[in-house]
């Protein structure tokens, strides 16, 4: 498929997806199921088991709404992130994953970690 046609289709999808999502507002999601899905679908491969490491984007703290998260996964704007269609991960599954990510703890600031303070002094 030509690049131009593909991009047109993707832009069209970007307009459509939020409409669909808004028609089916996602509930809170199940964090326990979300953890299993996070591992099963290898989200950790790019985002780390903590949701924050590796070449993928930092997911913690999760600032997106569940609907925004689903929309982003369908049509990511970063070059690194693949697009996961509803055939691969349903809206419900993504909402569960979103709920799990919301449970992951934030990092301590660097100033509170002595082993990192050493680098400040260099």
């Amino acid at each position: 498929m030509g690049e131009t046609i593909l991009r047109v289709l993707m832009r069209t999808a970007a307009l459509v997806v939020p409409v669909v999502l808004s028609a089916q507002p996602a509930p809170g999601g199940d964090a326990t199921k979300g953890k299993d899905l996070f591992l099963k679908y290898s989200c950790y491969a790019c985002h780390g088991f903590s949701g924050q490491n590796g070449p993928g984007a930092r997911l913690v703290p999760m600032k997106m709404t569940a609907a925004g998260f689903v929309a982003y996964v369908r049509l990511p704007r970063t070059r690194q992130m693949p697009s996961f269609s509803a055939k691969v991960l349903s809206d419900e599954q993504l909402t569960d994953i979103h709920a799990y990510i919301k449970t992951l703890p934030e990092s301590r600031p660097a100033k509170d970690i002595p082993a990192l303070n050493q680098f400040k002094e260099q």
Partner: protein, 646 residues
């Protein structure tokens, strides 16, 4: 040279047959003999004396069992003249003559023998050794099965512009192949298999030929761009005695290395003019540093211009805490100077990522930006293996060794800088220093992520290591690509031996042996060698752990045990997402689970101190401390650390 006994037996047999025929003729009736003589020209018959000599009881055969001067001794004389420190080899019968001569006639000194458990390990160890010591290693392998094992590592060295001197044993004379084993280990043109990714090779047919080719190979190998070379050592030449004439006449040729090619003065002046006039010049550093001299030269050039530097991490090129380090913004540059950069096109263009369909690329440089390259890569090319990258349209291409060209380029720039330009450059330098500081603050912030998580983050691994080696004379003998470059983002890299760079051709299996080779080079200086060891990489040829233990090579290996060929896992996810199916299956064929591999037990089995597996981050610091104590006593040690994927 002694004659083949087999040859003399055959000749004797032939003469016996001829004499028997002649005797038969003698006893025939004379008339018949005359008849035959008239019928056709008579062949001259052996005289009675000849017949007696040839048909009598043969003299007792003198079997030659020993010699005081096999040809291999002379080969050793030649190879010793090239001043190798070590030989890295897995044993092979096709170079048994040379091995015996090295350890006995040569006294196993200069070079001394390092026992390797795989030919791929031998070459990759040589690769790592060179990157620390700047000296090539002599490797040996069978011309057939050994070279087949070694070939990937040779390609890595080739792509990384690292010299490796490889001797291949081969029995070229068919009469000397003593069994089906030796036939299977013999080859018509041994070097052909790696000719596409070596710089030169030869198969000498005499000892004199060997001497010239051995020295010539060394000279070619050490002329930038440096690459591996291959010399085939014929088994017959190794094992048979030197002839009397060879003993009298052969000598070891003198070796004189060419001066590295420096850039044409006019082209260098043109480059300096562009760089000094530029508002935003940047320097992209590839495989610049051939010797320790390169780092201060590159710093001087960057400071002279107050230009941002983008280090592509192939070599220890530039101090990591220098305010100009990794501050280059190619997309904002008006002049880009690329020094020994492979695939420069990739540094100046974007491409559609792997997780999107199609392929679109565009330059990231501004319209009108001038591109300058200085590379010895323009002086030597092969066609089959495509590590040369895409053709890049540049404005000035200087075919020369970058390190050798830096002094004249610095001088040319300094001459052109006016007080006004100096002022502008200093202002630019202050801005770049701020960029450098922001980058470091960002890295520190990112290092906090998952600090207390289990498995352990690669950032924490790097920070805990630094905490205990920062006051030592240390050397990182590992690539950092697969740990998100955390050491390069946190540690203070300054000295030439602080970092050895990467694989060259990304052939996995390089890491463990390269680390052992580099650690051997560091040993005599008393440095602490640190290896961040990827799990997938170690499993190719883990016998190198035994080599480290056996030869008492001090090396701290800390496993990056993410239990996967992780890069491939991510690629599979990209492919499954593109195809819209089965993302949950992408662990198939790429993960190293069920059972988990216990690398601490593996290291112990090879005779090495080890600890772990560790998955609690708070256990890591004490484990590093204990392992370092072992390393400081001159032994290798391993910590099996279960880690986050990257």
């Amino acid at each position: 040279m002694a004659k083949s006994k087999r040859g003399s037996v055959d000749r004797r047999g032939f003469l016996k047959g001829a004499a028997a025929g002649a005797a038969a003729l003698v006893v025939k009736p004379q008339a018949r003999a005359q008849e035959q003589a008239q019928a056709r020209p008579a062949a001259p018959l052996p005289s009675p004396r000849q017949v007696a000599l040839e048909t009598g009881a043969p003299a007792a055969r003198v079997d030659v069992y020993t010699t005081d001067r096999p040809g291999a001794d002379f080969m050793v004389d030649v190879l010793k003249s090239l001043n190798f420190d070590y030989i890295f080899a897995n044993p092979g019968s096709s170079f048994r003559g040379l091995q015996e001569s090295f350890i006995n006639y040569g006294g196993n000194k200069n070079p001394s023998w390092i026992t390797c458990c795989h030919e791929e390990s031998s070459i990759a160890m040589a690769h790592g050794y060179y990157k620390i010591e700047g000296k090539p290693i002599l490797c040996m392998a069978h011309g057939t099965v050994g070279l087949q094992h070694a070939s990937m590592a040779i390609y890595n060295a080739y792509a990384d512009r690292v010299p490796v001197y490889l001797i291949l044993g081969n029995e070229q004379e068919i009469g000397f192949r003593r069994s089906d084993v030796e036939w299977a280990h013999s080859v018509q043109d041994a070097a052909s298999m790696v000719r596409d990714y070596t710089k030169w090779d030869d198969s000498p047919v005499s000892l004199g030929h060997f001497a010239e080719s051995a020295v010539r190979a060394y000279k070619i190998m050490m002329t930038p761009p440096m690459e591996p070379v291959v010399i085939c050592a014929n088994g017959q030449l190794q094992e048979e005695p030197m002839s009397e004439q060879d003993r009298r006449t052969l000598r070891v040729p003198k070796t004189v290395l060419p001066t590295p090619p420096a850039g044409d003065p006019n082209a260098v002046a043109e480059a300096a003019k562009l760089l000094v006039a530029a508002e935003n010049p940047v320097i992209v550093a590839g495989r610049v540093a051939r010797t320790p001299r390169a780092i201060p030269l590159l710093v001087e050039l960057a400071e002279t211009l107050q230009a941002g530097v983008e280090d592509r991490k192939f070599r220890m090129n530039f101090p990591s805490h220098h305010p100009l380090f990794n501050t280059a913004n190619v997309s904002n540059a008006d002049v880009v100077l690329a020094l020994e950069v492979p695939d420069f096109w990739n540094a100046t263009h974007t491409q559609t990522p792997i997780n999107r369909m199609g392929m679109e690329s565009r330059p990231i440089t501004k319209p009108g930006a001038k591109l300058i390259t200085i590379t010895a890569g323009d002086l030597f090319s092969r066609s089959n293996y495509q590590d040369f990258g895409r053709y890049t349209e540049v404005d000035l291409a200087i075919a020369a060794d970058a390190e050798a060209t830096l002094p004249s380029l610095i001088e040319a720039c300094q001459k052109l800088i006016t007080p006004d330009r100096r002022q502008a450059m200093e202002a630019r330098g202050r801005k770049l220093a701020e960029v450098h500081k922001r980058n470091r603050d960002r890295d520190l912030d990112q290092a906090t992520v998952g600090w207390d998580a289990s498995p352990v983050t690669t950032a924490r691994m790097a920070a805990e290591l630094w905490n205990q080696i920062k006051d030592e004379d240390w050397s990182l003998v590992a690539d950092t690509t697969f740990v998100s470059w955390w050491p390069l983002r946190l540690w203070n890299f300054q000295k030439p031996y602080h970092y050895i760079g990467g694989h060259g051709a990304y052939g996995i299996g390089y890491g463990a042996p390269a680390a052992v080779g580099a650690a051997l080079a560091n040993k005599k200086y008393g440095r602490i060698s640190i290896n961040i060891q990827c799990d997938g990489d170690l499993n190719y040829a883990p016998g190198v752990l035994w080599t480290a233990a056996h030869h008492r090579i001090p090396l701290l290996s800390i496993m990056h045990n993410n239990r996967a060929y992780h890069q491939e896992h991510m690629f599979l996810e990209d492919m499954a997402a593109r195809a819209g199916r089965g993302v949950e299956n992408t662990g198939i064929g790429v993960t190293l689970e069920d059972p988990h591999i216990n690398y601490a037990m593996m290291a112990k089995a090879y005779g090495m101190y080890s600890s772990g597996p560790i998955d609690n981050p708070s256990d890591l610091g004490p484990a590093i401390k204990a392992a370092l104590e072992v390393v400081k006593k001159g032994e290798p040690a391993m910590i099996d650390l279960v880690t986050q994927p990257r």
